[in-house]
């Protein structure tokens, strides 16, 4: 599904991601862990196209997307969320969701003047779909509130919902559990499993090993930009190198 081949990224002099390779199979939920500053988010940004790698290749369903613009990748089925959620704060939840729908006629300037009925019909269909997703994520009663009123966990859910609007085939989640209260955390885990059951692949950055163990079949461990280890969650927590990397930096 997703293949990262020997990817490196330098910012100025510092190499933040060094020669990293990983593969995520269709239908899997893979984890990506590592101490703070390991380069996990940077690797997501490379996969999502926020910037291009200094070297290496990224393949999505066999096609090289290494240098494709970020805004083209969702059409290929690759969706992502952000470590610090980026809701459109002044827009309502339902508008956040609608903005994420793909291939809208109404997003072309002239269609709004020339074929307003078709735009309206499309908008109604998308609104219905958006409400169904909000229902699924437990956000339906907030649909008409501006996104800025959401708690941290709700923001994570809204970001997931926005990505779902685009019918992705793989979703990258950056720390879905960070700063989320325990009750909401269960909802998030639950929903990820449910979405995965529908055939959607996940790659998840997460610090909470409990969450990782519940969700992920396979885990990649990144430390100081390098792939340190990969295996099942139970192997990861027992691996001395991994334990060292976490204790060595004094983080979680």
């Amino acid at each position: 599904m997703l293949e990262v081949r020997s990817v490196s990224k330098r910012f100025g002099g510092a190499e933040v991601v060094s020669n990293v390779s990983l593969g995520v199979g269709q239908g899997a939920i893979a984890g990506l862990i590592g101490p703070n500053g390991a380069g996990k988010t940077t690797l997501f940004n490379l996969i999502a196209g926020s910037f291009a790698p200094s070297s290496g290749d990224i393949l999505l369903e066999g096609a090289a997307i290494t240098r494709e613009a970020a805004h083209r990748r969702l059409k290929r089925g690759l969706g992502r969320t952000f470590q610090i959620p980026k809701p459109f704060a002044e827009m309502t939840l339902i508008e956040n969701m609608l903005a994420a729908a793909q291939g809208q006629r109404g997003e072309s300037l002239f269609a709004n003047w020339l074929t307003p009925r078709r735009v309206a019909a499309e908008e109604r269909a998308n609104a219905e779909k958006a409400m169904a997703h909000l229902e699924f994520l437990g956000l339906a009663r907030l649909a008409r509130e501006p996104a800025r009123v959401l708690s941290g966990g709700q923001r994570k859910l809204l970001e997931l919902g926005r990505v779902l609007m685009a019918d992705p085939r793989i979703i990258l989640l950056d720390e879905p559990g960070a700063g989320v209260n325990p009750a909401l955390l269960d909802t998030i885990i639950d929903r990820v499993i449910e979405i995965n059951r529908r055939g959607i692949t996940f790659l998840i950055i997460e610090h909470n090993m409990d969450l990782v163990a519940r969700l992920c079949g396979h885990v990649f461990v990144l430390a100081a930009g390098r792939m340190l280890f990969e295996g099942a969650p139970s192997e990861v927590v027992r691996n001395p190198q991994v334990i060292d990397a976490y204790l060595g930096t004094g983080s979680t």
């Binding site: 952000f82 609608l98 908008e123």
Partner: protein, 315 residues
């Protein structure tokens, strides 16, 4: 009494043409956050394009195709919009400050071309004998001004309606999304640059239209109409009326043009002839002071940005 009516109609037509420019700037700045400091340049393109296409043939000058006025209007929009799209494609990839510098430079360049390319633009004397809408009524000022007011009012209303529809459309929603968080918008498949270029071109096309409407109302254009004073006036109108609000754009245009006209008349009446050119600078200062005072009292302008929601989602 009739004189006052004629003048009021004349005043409103002029104010509304500024209002149209403001609506264009509101698409760029209010809706998209594009800092265009070359407004005068795009108005000039519209005015000159329409003038060249619609005037009768003139010896020693290019153009003079004698085409109908409505054709001039459309061509003004197309050429201004296309020029902006080109500039946008080159500069909007870069950051916002580049757009400001570029538009500033381009407006100056356009004014210099208007001033110096005599065979194209008539040079410093400009272009006269531009066919006026309802030109047949010219010798009856009241009827002529009222007819023009009806027409320009209709154009403004249609434009307002079309833009309001756009603000509440999925297209407008993408612009808001990009303004709120560009990285998120990109990750959701929105080509931010393309939308910015569209908004820039649309706004400039509207400015071009306003230039043409003005030209066909007055019947005469010259390079000195399109200096940076015009850009300043339009910005003051939009900020005072309320950036991000189409009604604010129109209200600001009428108020600021009113202030401009009143102070102009007062200067003409009370300042001796030899000082008048210098006293004109006072008008700019006055608008600047009004602007500053208002921004202290009402930072978002008189009407302020409207809460937008897609028109299909109301209720």
């Amino acid at each position: 009494m009739l004189d006052i009516l004629a003048y009021a109609a004349f005043f409103l037509v002029t104010a509304l043409t500024y209002g149209i420019i403001c609506l264009g700037l509101n698409v760029q700045w209010g809706q998209t956050g594009l800092f265009n400091v070359g407004v005068a340049g795009f108005v000039a393109i519209g005015a000159y394009v329409s003038a060249l296409l619609t005037t009768p043939e003139t010896a020693g000058r290019f153009g003079g195709f004698g085409l109908p006025v409505w054709f001039g209007w459309i061509a003004a929009m197309v050429v201004s919009g296309a020029a902006a799209a080109l500039i946008g494609a080159i500069t909007l990839r870069l950051r916002a400050d580049y757009l400001a510098i570029t538009t500033f430079g381009i407006a100056i360049a356009i004014q210099l071309v208007a001033l110096n390319a005599e065979t194209l633009t008539g040079g410093p004397f400009g272009i006269g004998f531009i066919p006026r809408a309802f030109g047949g009524l010219e010798d009856r000022p009241i009827i002529f001004n009222l007819a023009n007011l009806a027409m320009v009012g209709t154009v403004t209303a249609l434009l307002y309606y079309a833009l309001e529809r756009l603000v509440r459309s999925p297209w407008g929603r993408v612009l808001r999304a990009i303004r709120e968080d560009e990285a998120a918008a990109l990750s959701l498949g929105k080509n931010a640059n393309l939308f910015r270029i569209q908004a820039f071109a649309l706004g400039s096309a509207i400015m071009g239209l306003a230039g043409a409407v003005q030209a066909h109302f007055i019947g005469f254009i010259a390079p000195e109409n399109y200096i940076s004073t015009l850009t300043f006036q339009v910005w003051a109108m939009l900020i005072i009326g309320g950036s991000g609000n189409n009604r604010g754009a129109l209200l600001g245009a009428v108020l600021v043009w009113g202030l401009w006209s009143v102070t102009g008349a007062m200067l003409a009446a009370f300042v001796p002839g030899e000082y008048q050119a210098r006293a004109a600078a006072l008008q700019i200062v006055l608008i600047g002071v009004a602007l500053a005072a208002l921004l202290v009292l009402r930072p978002r302008g008189l009407l302020g940005e409207e809460k937008m929601i897609s028109r299909f989602l109301k209720g």
